[in-house]
Amino acid sequence: MTTELSISDTAARLKAHFGEGVAPAGDGLATSPELLPRVAGYLRDTAGFDFDFLDMMAAVDYADRFELVYRLLSLKHNHTLTLRVNCDKNKAVVPSLAGLWQGADLQEREIYDLFGISFNGHPNLKRIVLWEGFEGHPLRKDFKDGAYGAGD
């Protein structure tokens, strides 16, 4: 059965490398956009973690920030970890993880399409579900769909 890695143990182990940049947050670990590629790469390549698979990623629109949620899975050890990254609403740019896990490619495009969060270093960042020229990002709380709904 898949097990959840202990948050406190993992946080302590990462603290040795990243200092205060990684901290426990709820059921997972929180880090900053700047540190994200290094933390993710470390989790993927370090023996004992071996997170070789990005299970899923999601974005959340809070009142004051966007949060990106990464679910990592190790097929080798059959354990999982949740990684959270906050980003500024006015400057919604996060490094892309498509170079680490290919599965991030399409999911980052979907989040770019529906939330308007840009991913630095993505190989092909363009809309995936909606069409080019669509105004706005529908999963944002402040999205107004007046131009697109049936209007009744």
């Binding site: 579900v129 909606l130 669509f134 529908p138 769909d145 131009a147 697109y148 709904g149 049936a150 009744d152």
Partner: protein, 197 residues
Amino acid sequence: MEIEGERLISAEEIDRHEAAGIEALRAASREPIPDPDAWLSTEIKRNLLFTTVDYAINWARTSSLWTLIAFTACCTFEFIGTSSSRFDIARFGMEVVRASPRQADLLICGGTLTWKMAPQIKRLYDQMAEPKWVVAMGACAISGGIFRDSYAVVPGYNRLVPVDVYIPGCPPRPEALLAGIEQLRKKIRKESITQRR
């Protein structure tokens, strides 16, 4: 000729025997034997029928409504159920489901259509050869259904293609689909080749 004992039968008896044979043959020959080609007239009566061109063509059209495989969402499964053996759409000559719009007569619009998919559906309809008919199956095809107000959904197939029959339901049961198709067949029977659709 019979011989009784040693005596030969008489000339009168031979005559009576001959007469009886003639009478029997005459009784059996009261009607003339039919000519060898007499069957022709009855076969023509049995095999020719008179009708109008419209009736014959509409009969052919209603009996072979070939459906295009262009389904966008879950109403598809009711169509699959309808075309399977329990409801048996083959009774109406519709079991031939076509993957090419060039060979299809009927577009059954089953399911939610998004604007991203809309150009493809419109193109498929345009590629179908005349005469062609459209059935809007289910709430989404009629009006967009519960997704009507969405930014991504076409509020009804009639924004793109002319719809002949609307079948309500979410999804319509196979019986409802068959009833809708029967309505379409009634509609086709009223058409004439002299009128442009």
